[in-house]
C-alpha cells in the first residue's frame, strides 16, 4: 500500500509482548551479560563473553549441560483457559460419566442387554427387579440396552469423526498448500461429492453389503470428511501466508515436510473445535439411520434404535422413549458445550 510501512502494526504487538511477562528469568540474567557487553569492543572479547554468560567455568569443566527450562506451549495455555470454563468442564465431566458407563456397561447393568424377560414385557421402571429404566417391548432391560446403545452411538460418533479428521486434514492441507490447479481440482471433487444425496449412498451401501456396523462408519465418515476438508483448506490458505512458512521454504524444507511440520499443527485449532461438534452430528446421523431401520442389527442396539422403538410406544410406555432420548440429548449438549469452550480457549489472540 503506498505511503505506509509495516512498522506501525508491530508497535502494538511489541507492547503486548512486554506485558505478558515472558522469560522473566532471562531478563535478570540477561542483563548481567549486558553489563559485560558494555566493555569496549576488544578482539576476542565476544568469545569470552559467550563463555561468561552461558555456562560457568565449573559447569564447563564437568561438561554438564544446564537443564532446559520447560516451555509453556500454546496448547498448554489453551488447556488452562478451558479448565477455567466451568460449563465446558462440567460438560466434560458428564461426558466422562456417560462414556465410563458405556464402557463398563456389561459390568454395571444388573441384566444382560439381550435377555428377554417374558413375564415383564413392556413394564415400567421397577426397582424391585432392578429394571431401573423398565423394559422394552420385547422384555429386555432398558437400562442395559441404553448403556449398550451408548457404546454403539459413541463409538460410531468418535470413530467416524476420527476417520473424517484424518482424511479431511490430509486432503484439505494438500489442496490448500499447493493451490492453483491442484486445489481447484481437489475442491471441485469435494463439491461434486457434496452434492450427492447422502441417503441414496447409504441405502445403496446397505443394499449391497448388508447392515453392518462398520459400514455405517464408512458411510458417515465418507460424508463428514468433506466439510472437514473445506475447513482445513481454508485455514491452510491463511497459514501458508504466514512468515514462518516462508522461512521454512527459504530453508529448503520440502513441501510434504512443511505441510506436516508447520501447516497441520497450526490449523488444528478450528479443526479440533469442529471435530467436537461433528461427533454429535454423527451420532444424530446414526440415530436417524437407525430410526429409518437402516442402523445396526439386532440384538445390537443404539440410541437411535431405542428412540425409534420408544417413539412407537410413546403413549403407552413413555419410559421407553424418555430414557434413551435423555441420554442422547444430554450427550449432544455436552459435546456442544465442550466445542464452544474449546473455541473460546483456542482464541486467535494467542495464535
Amino acid at each position: 500500500m503506498p505511503g505506509a510501512t509495516a512498522k506501525g502494526a508491530f508497535a502494538g504487538e511489541r507492547a503486548l509482548a512486554q506485558w505478558t511477562g515472558r522469560g522473566r528469568d532471562v531478563m535478570t540474567r540477561f542483563s548481567i551479560k549486558g553489563i559485560l557487553e558494555k566493555a569496549p569492543s576488544v578482539p576476542g572479547l565476544s568469545k569470552r563473553l559467550e563463555a561468561a554468560s552461558t555456562l560457568s567455568e565449573e559447569q564447563r569443566l564437568e561438561d554438564r549441560e544446564a537443564p532446559a527450562i520447560a516451555g509453556r506451549s500454546l496448547w498448554a495455555d489453551a488447556r488452562r483457559r478451558l479448565a477455567r470454563n466451568r460449563m465446558a468442564m462440567g460438560a466434560l465431566v458428564v461426558l466422562a460419566l456417560v462414556g465410563g458407563a458405556a464402557l463398563l456397561a456389561p459390568w454395571i447393568s444388573p441384566h444382560p442387554y439381550d435377555e428377554i424377560y417374558w413375564d415383564r414385557i413392556g413394564s415400567p421402571p421397577d426397582w424391585a427387579n432392578a429394571h431401573w429404566f423398565g423394559t422394552d417391548a420385547n422384555g429386555r432391560d432398558l437400562f442395559a440396552r441404553t448403556l449398550h446403545g451408548a457404546r454403539v452411538s459413541l463409538a460410531v460418533g468418535l470413530l467416524a469423526t476420527v476417520v473424517s479428521l484424518i482424511i479431511g486434514v490430509a486432503y484439505g492441507a494438500v489442496a490448500g498448500y499447493f493451490g492453483g490447479r491442484t486445489d481447484g481440482v481437489m475442491m471441485r471433487l469435494v463439491d461434486v461429492l457434496y452434492s450427492l444425496p447422502f441417503m441414496f449412498f447409504v441405502i445403496l451401501l446397505m443394499v449391497f453389503f448388508g447392515r453392518n456396523i462398520y459400514l455405517i462408519f464408512v458411510a458417515i465418515g465418507a460424508v463428514e470428511w468433506l466439510t472437514m476438508a473445506r475447513i482445513v483448506r481454508g485455514q491452510t490458505l491463511s497459514v501458508k501466508r504466514r512468515e514462518f512458512v516462508e522461512a521454512a521454504r527459504a530453508l529448503g524444507v520440502s513441501s510434504p515436510v512443511i505441510i506436516r511440520r508447520h501447516i497441520v499443527p497450526n490449523v488444528l485449532g478450528p479443526v479440533v473445535v469442529y471435530a467436537t461438534l461433528t461427533v454429535p452430528q454423527v451420532i444424530l446421523m446414526e440415530s436417524f439411520l437407525s430410526f429409518l431401520g437402516l442402523g445396526v442389527q439386532e440384538p445390537l442396539t443404539s440410541w437411535g434404535v431405542l428412540i425409534s422403538e420408544g417413539a412407537r410406544q410413546m403413549e403407552s410406555a413413555p419410559w421407553m422413549l424418555v430414557f434413551p432420548a435423555l441420554f442422547l440429548a444430554t450427550t449432544l449438549f455436552c459435546f456442544n458445550f465442550v466445542g464452544d469452550g474449546l473455541r473460546d480457549a483456542l482464541d486467535p489472540r494467542d495464535r
Binding site: 505511503g3 505506509a4 512498522k7 508497535a11 512486554q18 506485558w19 511477562g21 569492543s41
Partner: protein, 322 residues
C-alpha cells in the same frame, strides 16, 4: 496562567488474564497552552496509556487513578457521557495507524462531519464547508472530490492527513498525536511533521502532544520533552536541554543508541543492554536499576522522584539528583 492540562500522580492498571499490568506508575506533568510537548519512550513505557487515560479512552480492562485536570476541571472519574463533551470537542487524538483509525465503510465526509455536527450542532452544509476547508488546509489536493471517497481509496499519507483534519474539526485546545508518522514512509513522514509544525505555529492557543519513540521526530517538533520509562517520567525539560545534556542514564543510553543519518556510528557500543522492565511485577526501587551503568544501593530500595535540577530540566535519578 493556569496550565491547560495538569496530570498528578497518574496510575493506570490493566487487568489481563495473566495478572495486573502496571502500565503507568505515578506520572505527573503539566502542559501549557500553545506548547508542544514530546513524550518519548519505547514500547511498554506507558506513554500512550497516559494519554488514553487523559482522554478517557482506556480499554475496558483499564483502571486509572490520580488526577487529571483539563482547563481546571477534573476529568478522571467523569462518566462516559460527560467525557464525550470533551473528546473531539476540546481535546482530540490522532492515532498511529490511519488504516485502522478510519472507518472503511464510511465516506470521508461522513466521518469528518460527525464530530462537529454532534458537538457544535452544525448543519450539514456548515459541516461540509468546514471539512472542505480543513482538508485543503492539511494539503490534500482536490479536496472536494476526496470528501466523497472511502478511506481505502486514499494513500497512507493522505489518510493520516485526513485523521489530523478530522481531529481539528471542532478546534480543540489539545491535540494528542500518538506516533503520527510511524506507519508512514519517510517522505510522507516529513510532510506530516511539517504540517504539524505549521498547525501549532498558526494557532498559538492550541497545545500539541507528540507521543513517539522516534527521537528525530521529537527533536524537530517538540518544545519540551518528557522521557518515560516503565510507566514513569524519568526526565523532562526543554528540548535542547534534554538532547544536548541528558541527565538520566536511560535518556543518555537512548540517545546514544539511536542511529543517525548524519553521523556514522563506527562503534556499535551497546549503550542500553537488557530488556525493559516487567510491568506485571514491578521491582522495588528504581525501575531502570537493572540496566543502569551506575546503580547505587539506594536505587534498590527507593524509587527516585522527578525533581528539577536546572531550571525546567528535571530528572528522576538518585545519582544525578539526590
Amino acid at each position: 496562567m493556569a496550565p491547560l492540562l495538569e496530570v498528578r500522580d497518574l496510575h493506570v492498571e490493566l487487568s489481563t488474564p495473566e495478572g495486573k499490568v502496571h502500565a503507568v506508575n505515578g506520572t505527573s506533568f503539566q502542559l501549557e497552552e500553545g506548547e508542544i510537548l514530546g513524550v518519548a519512550g519505547e514500547s511498554g513505557s506507558g506513554k500512550s496509556q497516559v494519554f488514553l487515560a487523559v482522554m478517557g479512552l482506556l480499554a475496558d480492562n483499564g483502571r486509572a487513578r490520580g488526577s487529571v485536570r483539563f482547563q481546571g476541571e477534573e476529568l478522571l472519574h467523569l462518566s462516559s457521557r460527560a467525557m464525550n463533551r470533551y473528546r473531539g470537542r476540546r481535546m482530540a487524538m490522532v492515532f498511529q495507524d490511519p488504516m485502522t483509525s478510519l472507518n472503511p465503510y464510511l465516506k470521508i465526509r461522513r466521518q469528518m462531519t460527525e464530530g462537529v455536527r454532534f458537538h457544535l450542532k452544525a448543519t450539514r452544509r456548515e459541516a461540509r464547508a468546514k471539512a472542505l476547508a480543513l482538508l485543503e488546509r492539511v494539503g490534500i489536493p482536490d479536496a472536494a472530490r476526496r470528501l466523497g471517497m472511502y478511506p481505502h481509496e486514499l494513500s497512507g499519507g493522505m489518510r493520516q492527513r485526513v485523521t489530523i483534519a478530522m481531529a481539528l474539526m471542532c478546534e480543540p485546545r489539545l491535540l494528542v498525536a500518538d506516533e503520527p508518522t510511524t506507519a508512514l514512509d519517510v517522505t510522507f513522514q516529513a510532510q506530516i511533521l511539517e504540517l504539524l509544525k505549521e498547525l501549532s505555529v498558526e494557532d498559538a492557543s492550541r497545545s500539541l502532544v507528540t507521543i513517539t519513540h522516534d527521537m528525530g521526530v521529537m527533536a524537530g517538533l517538540a518544545h519540551r520533552v518528557a522521557v518515560m520509562y516503565g510507566g514513569r517520567i524519568v526526565e523532562t525539560g526543554p528540548v535542547d536541554d534534554v538532547f544536548y545534556e541528558p541527565l538520566h542514564p536511560y535518556t543518555r543510553g537512548l540517545l546514544e543508541s539511536v542511529p543517525r543519518v548524519d553521523a556514522p556510528s563506527a562503534d556499535l557500543a551497546v549503550a542500553l543492554p537488557g530488556q525493559p522492565p516487567n510491568l506485571q511485577r514491578l521491582p522495588r526501587g528504581c525501575l531502570f536499576r537493572e540496566r543502569c551503568p551506575r546503580p547505587r544501593d539506594e536505587c534498590a530500595v527507593r524509587s527516585p522522584s522527578l525533581l528539577p535540577l536546572d531550571g525546567e530540566h528535571a530528572v528522576a535519578c538518585h545519582e544525578v539528583n539526590p
